[in-house]
């Protein structure tokens, strides 16, 4: 394929050869590279299928593309973009650019599970050559657009690294702003990545170009010179740059292999298409990055080798959609300098005005300006009348004229920024700075203007570039601190066009997102707009808003924080809001909503799937499953799903061996029980079984938990809480109390807090009296060896408030005793522990204690002197136990004396029994009389002893 000296590039070859000899002292590597570049250009130019090399975010590429498409009117456009993204491109017309075409897969097959979710994005801006090609092909009848690059599936198949590593941004980059994170952690694919692949070359170019970053270099040395050049010059220069970067530094091996495979893939696909449709290659245009245009793989060209076999895709199911993008997101993802895409957009608009090139736009594209459109139409009419372009098609002619020599000899083109424009900018930036809190004045505008010109002079430019202007503005206006949200650099970026954030139109949204918008229509808000909007839902007066409220609560559960935020109103089991107000930012979080759309067709379905997934996850705990039950009831109001998930909770509980989640389980079960008791005629069967199983389960685990070091006091307290508070229900369902009593009897904790807990439990069960408990505490306080551990016992008692709330007064007493009797060295270090215990216990334990303390302690200071704590008061001496019993009998006496009421009730109930008198004398003695054998035997034994 290599050209001969007779070709158009003969003269250039000769010159380069001489140059190589002069600089490298004879033919060698340098000559090989230089001549190889010319060969590459020659080969690509001669290819019958016209190759159109582009660079991403290059207005020059876009202008050249628009011009070329009008001139050539190709019938087929091949585009370097993932082939599976094709069906979505027509939806671009419903969006405001920039947006990104996204391929998304949540369930992966054939890829490591930790890569999920897989996401590939291809951002599309208006100032790009690919958008021109897409708009032309989709809106011109009879033109076919064929995407030829590997599919999204292959992107991951060929990726050796983890996706995170692939998407990793420049470590020196500033932290991503909200707009910059629009693509999430997707892998970006882009048409026309053109950048030196070895750092030294880039550094060299930057240094000699006196520029700071690659985007600026490109703008200065390629974009501007190419801005007004003809098609052949454009094409040859782009091919030259592609070939230069390729030959000088191929980059790392894996990347080169992937690049070459992609080229093979694309050419194979194009040949397949040509054969299948029988299209003449001369009627086609192949749009690809300049890097790929200078390819040397055997498959290159219409007559290339057919040796590449395209591998099958994995079974991963890919979903496709459009998501909003932004200039900042594109810059962040592809490592471009901040503001470069915005500057490209401004340059594109300026180029259009200057060159009068009529761009292509998809019909109905959002954001189109009517004025410009009419102008464009007029220009198009003019273009149609005057079809004689400045250049003949090189692809058709076969042998192209050498445009490179002229271009390479030309001095650098200067930025045509004129003085009036610079003056305008200087004034504008000072105004913007003032609005943002800077103390900027007209003097600063003058200084910025002057400094821009001086800086341009320092950097060998006749006139300042936007980047020089930015530097000047920073120098003159930025002081030691940034007063507002934005610094001067950012203000200049905004002034130069600013970040533009795309928006996916209603029609291009997935069904789920459309459904959400439809259902929220009654709110009468423009939810597609970015920013936060306040929604007020007066459900009491407009009951139809309750459905909106349901949607909002589900969105809150499903979308990232901030998308839907309730300001007033809450959703809890068994409660219903009368009024709600929300802060909604669905426009800002459009990507999240769209990605939700990949999971299902309605939010209910997605929520159900997610709840199921959480509940059936291998690591799901009983607490998490109960949470899903609660969510299913709360958001979906689905008894069916709640029952199913409840059954699952039962399974997890039975299989659980740790008691870590006990507090959470107790809290949730209590809440669900309370809800079902008030809202359903009978309890759902699962919750009855849950209580029953839980009772047995916690009884079994109790003795171990008391001694296990891993189980905390809180956990054990929660277990006891479950056992005591669910006891009546459990016993009514057939549980046996003996099990609990046995479990408590088997528990022998050594830890002071747990011991205290056990004492409390035994008090609740009636094994210990208050007096016993008080005696034990006194004993602890009296024993100097145990005193240091006393606070730990107290912690146990505080925790015991959960299972045994009846002990509150005793706990107050114990704490008061501690304050009274503990020595300071023990008391003071313990106080923080008490506070943290109470805080951990949440709002439940502290109010209990405080209320009780308020009841016990005197309310006024004066009353304190005369106050004696209730526990110090002497027990009431006058009432002996026997008297109490006699008193208890008094009611019976009254009943016997006036039997009329009782008889009447008995008559009503149909009982016809007579009144009986109790036999005199103790009942036990009667039993001894009736069965004397045991007593006799005992008497014999005692006598014998």
């Amino acid at each position: 394929m290599s050209g001969t000296d007779e070709s158009a590039f003969g003269a250039l070859r000769g010159q380069l050869q001489e140059a190589a000899q002069a600089f490298a002292d004879g033919p060698g590597a340098l000559e090989g590279i230089l001549l190889g570049i010319v060969d590459d250009v020659d080969r690509a130019v001669r290819e019958p299928l016209e190759i159109f090399p582009v660079c991403h975010h290059s207005p020059a590429s876009a202008t050249a593309m628009a011009r070329r498409l009008r001139e050539k009117r190709p019938k087929v456009v091949y585009l370097e973009l993932c082939e599976d993204m094709a069906p979505l491109l027509t939806e671009l017309r419903n969006c405001r650019l920039p947006v990104a075409v996204q391929a998304f897969a949540t369930e992966t097959e054939g890829f490591p599970a930790e890569w999920a979710p897989l996401s590939v994005v291809a951002p599309i801006t208006e100032a790009s050559a690919e958008y021109q090609a897409i708009a032309y092909a989709l809106d011109t009848p009879g033109v076919e657009l064929v995407l030829v690059d590997r599919s999204s599936d292959h992107v991951y198949q060929w990726d050796e690294r983890a996706p995170q590593a692939a998407a990793a941004a420049d470590p020196d980059a500033p932290p991503a702003e909200e707009e910059a994170a629009l693509h999430g952690d997707a892998v970006g694919v882009e048409i026309g990545d053109l950048r030196p692949r070895f750092a030294e070359l880039e550094e060299h170019l930057l240094r000699h170009g006196r520029v700071r970053h690659w985007s600026e270099w490109w703008h200065q040395y390629v974009e501007l010179p190419l801005g007004d050049s003809d098609h052949d010059t454009y094409r040859q220069v782009m091919l030259l740059i592609g070939s230069l970067f390729r030959r000088l530094a191929p980059g790392d091996e894996h990347r080169v292999r992937v690049d070459e495979d992609r080229e093979r893939y694309m050419w194979t696909r194009m040949r397949e298409h040509l054969t299948a449709t029988g299209t003449d290659p001369a009627d086609c245009l192949y749009v690809c990055g300049a890097f790929h245009a200078a390819s040397r793989v055997a498959e290159f060209g219409v007559r290339g080798a057919d040796t590449f076999e395209i591998g099958p895709r994995t079974a991963t199911k890919w979903q496709h959609g459009l998501i909003p993008s932004s200039h900042a997101a594109i810059e962040a993802q592809f490592g471009l300098a901040a503001g470069s895409v915005s500057i490209a957009a401004t340059v594109w608009a300026k180029n259009l005005r200057r060159t009068k090139v009529q761009p292509f736009r998809l019909a109905g594209q959002n954001g189109a300006k009517s004025g410009r459109a009419t102008k464009a139409v007029a220009a198009a009419a003019q273009a149609a009348q005057d079809p004689t372009g400045s250049v003949a098609s090189s692809g058709e002619s076969g042998a192209a004229a050498d445009r490179l020599s002229g271009f390479l000899r030309r001095p650098p083109v200067l930025d045509p920024l004129d003085e009036a424009e610079l003056l305008g900018w200087s004034v504008e930036i000072v105004r913007a700075a003032r609005r943002n809190g800077y103390l900027a004045s007209t003097a600063d505008a003058i200084a910025v203007f002057e400094t821009s010109i001086l800086l341009a002079g320092m950097r060998d430019r006749a006139k300042p570039t936007p980047y020089d202007f930015q530097d000047a503005a920073v120098t003159c206006i930025e002081k030691d601190s940034v007063p507002g949200r934005r610094d001067v650099r950012r203000l200049v970026e905004i002034m130069m066009g600013g970040d533009r954030i795309g928006q996916v139109g209603y029609d291009a949204l997935p069904p789920l997102a459309r459904d959400v918008h439809d259902r929220l229509k009654p709110l009468a808000l423009r939810l597609e707009q970015r920013g936060v909007q306040r929604a007020l839902l007066d459900i009491a007066s407009r009951p139809e808003l309750e459905r909106c409220s349901d949607v909002l609560w589900m969105l809150r559960r499903l979308l990232p924080q901030g998308a839907a935020r309730p300001i007033m109103g809450e959703r809890r089991l068994g409660e219903r809001s009368i009024q709600e107000s929300w802060d909604l930012a669905l426009g800002t979080h459009q990507r999240a909503l769209i990605e939700l759309g990949y999971e299902g067709i309605s939010i209910e379905q997605v929520l159900e799937q997610r709840l199921r997934r959480t509940a059936y996850a291998p690591r799901a705990t009983t607490a998490t499953v109960l949470e899903t039950v609660e969510d299913a009831t709360l958001y979906l109001r689905s008894r069916r799903l709640a029952d199913e998930l409840g059954a699952r909770a039962l399974e997890t509980l039975a299989a659980e061996r740790s008691v870590d989640g006990a507090p959470e389980v107790l809290r949730r079960v209590r809440r669900l029980l309370a809800f079902y008791r008030t809202s359903e005629p009978v309890l759902p069967p699962w919750i009855e079984r849950f209580v029953k199983t839980g009772y047995a389960h916690y009884c079994t685990l109790l003795p171990t938990a008391f001694t296990d070091e891993d189980a905390g006091v809180r956990q054990v307290a929660a277990m006891l809480g479950f056992l005591f508070s669910m006891e009546s229900l459990a016993l009514s369902l057939g549980c046996d109390r003996t099990q609990l009593e046995l479990a408590v009897a088997q528990s022998h904790p050594e830890d002071p807090p747990k011991t205290a807990l056990l004492w409390a439990a035994r008090t609740q069960l009636g094994h210990l009296t208050r007096a016993d408990l008080r005696a034990r505490c006194d004993e602890l306080l009296d024993n100097p060896l145990v005193v240091p551990a006393y606070p730990r016992y107290l912690s146990g008692f505080v925790q015991a408030l959960e299972p045994v709330p009846g002990l509150t007064d005793f706990v107050v007493e114990a704490v008061s005793n501690a304050f009274a009797r503990l020595p300071d060295p023990v008391l003071l270090p313990w106080l923080p522990t008490l506070i943290t215990t109470l805080r951990d216990g949440g709002g439940e334990l502290a109010p209990l204690l405080i209320r009780e303390a308020g009841r016990i302690f005197p309310g006024r200071l004066t009353a304190l002197d005369a106050w004696v704590p209730p526990w110090r008061e002497a027990p009431d001496p006058g009432v002996p136990a026997s008297a109490r019993r006699a008193e208890a009998g008094r009611g019976v006496a009254l009943l016997a004396a006036h039997p009329a009421a009782c008889d009447a009730v008995a008559g009503l109930l149909g009982c016809d029994g007579a009144w009986e008198t109790a036999a005199a004398g103790p009942r036990g003695a009667a039993l001894v009389d009736r069965h004397p054998d045991t007593a006799t035997a005992l008497a014999v034994l005692l006598a014998a002893g």
Partner: protein
């Protein structure tokens, strides 16, 4: 020149400056001795592509746009304020700029709490005033006034350290460009000292001391601020450390090699400590030191001197570690704890993994911490 402990830049590079002046054909603003491009070349050094007969060494390391912005500011109507953390090379850049532009970098006012307006304007030779009365002869001009009279660059170090009223004396100097001397009202020579073209002021301010004596907005307006960040790029930092260390070795006339592996160890340890300082939540969790490049040079210099005079006339990782700990441990429990954590959490695993100098470095660090605590 060898009799001076430290020669100012214009003396040290006198020969180079002469040569640059001789080949400079670019336009020079005011009375500048070099054109702005040559000033940049002098500071940032030359490359082969510049096509000069002799190489010009790079003297200041950092983003070139800082230098360009600084030069351009001096060519404009405003003063230049270099602001940044301690040890980022602000004063060195100021010295180089004034040496290149006006061949005099010694017209310096050092801002302190005791700096008075006299230090900025003028004062009187009391005995002469008694003998001859107040006249131009008995007036002692300040460095700034001298710079005005000569059309040179005056320097004001640590501007924010001096009090607000003293700072504000600069306002009229920077806007009206003259100092009036009311005491000489009847003098025929005039009671006003006008600045000649080329006069400007380079001030430096420490961003850590912000708020000590904050600049008034009127003064801020008259300065262009150039913020010099701490160098975090490892490559340029290595360059700076090597450059400065060579200079120091030459000054101390020490023949000692700094092994590249040890330089790497030093740079890496500073990078690690900076990362941990960036991640720290409170001041107690980070070292008091700013961890600037200058501090790295200090650590290295200390280690070299120690190795040369007390050691085996060679630099070892052990000495480097103890010098690092010695320089960075300023507060007793906090800094030592951080360094201890660093040694055990970062250096120890690395020494197990990579071995080499890291093992010795770890031992040195441990010994130093043991001695200090």
């Amino acid at each position: 020149m060898s009799e001076l402990l430290r020669a100012p830049a214009e003396m040290k590079y006198a020969e180079e400056l002469d040569w640059l002046e001789s080949i400079d054909d670019g336009p020079k603003p005011f009375a500048w001795r070099l054109s702005p491009k040559m000033v940049r070349l002098f500071i940032l050094g030359s490359e082969r592509a510049d096509g000069l007969d002799r190489p010009v060494a790079q003297k200041w390391f950092g983003d070139r746009s800082f230098v360009e912005r600084s030069i351009v500011t001096l060519a404009s109507d405003r003063g230049l304020l270099l602001i940044g953390d301690p040890g980022t090379g602000k004063s060195w850049l100021a010295e180089l700029l004034s040496a290149a532009i006006s061949r005099n970098s010694t017209l310096v006012v050092q801002g302190t709490a005791g700096t008075t307006e006299d230090h900025i304007k003028y004062s009187w030779n009391v005995s002469m005033v008694i003998a001859k009365g107040q006249s131009r002869e008995s007036m002692i001009p300040s460095p700034i006034m001298t710079a005005m009279e000569a059309g040179a660059i005056g320097r004001f170090e640590e501007l924010t350290r001096s009090t607000s009223d003293v700072q504000d004396a600069l306002i009229s100097i920077l806007s009206e460009k003259y100092i009036s001397v009311p005491e000489l009202a009847g003098d025929d020579n005039g009671n006003i000292v006008f600045a000649k073209p080329g006069f400007s002021v380079i001030a430096t301010a420490n961003s850590r001391d912000r708020g000590v004596n904050d600049l008034s907005s009127a003064l801020k307006r008259r300065f262009n601020f150039v913020r010099i960040p701490v160098v975090t790029n490892k490559k340029s930092e290595a360059e700076i450390v090597r450059f400065r260390t060579e200079e120091l070795l030459r000054r101390h006339q020490i023949e000692l090699d700094v092994p590249p592996t040890l330089l790497d160890v030093l740079l890496q340890s500073f990078a690690d400590l900076r990362a941990s300082a960036a991640a720290a939540g409170s001041d107690d969790e980070k070292l008091e030191s700013a961890l600037s490049t200058a501090e790295q040079i200090g650590v290295l210099e200390d280690a070299i001197l120690h190795g040369n005079f007390f050691g085996e006339r060679a630099l070892t990782a052990h000495t480097l570690a103890s010098s690092l700990v010695g320089s960075l441990a300023r507060r007793d429990p906090e800094d030592l704890a951080i360094l201890n954590k660093y040694l055990h959490g970062v250096v120890e695993p690395r020494s197990k993994e990579e071995g080499g100098s890291w093992t010795e470095f770890l031992e040195g660090g441990r010994d130093a911490i043991a001695t200090l605590s």
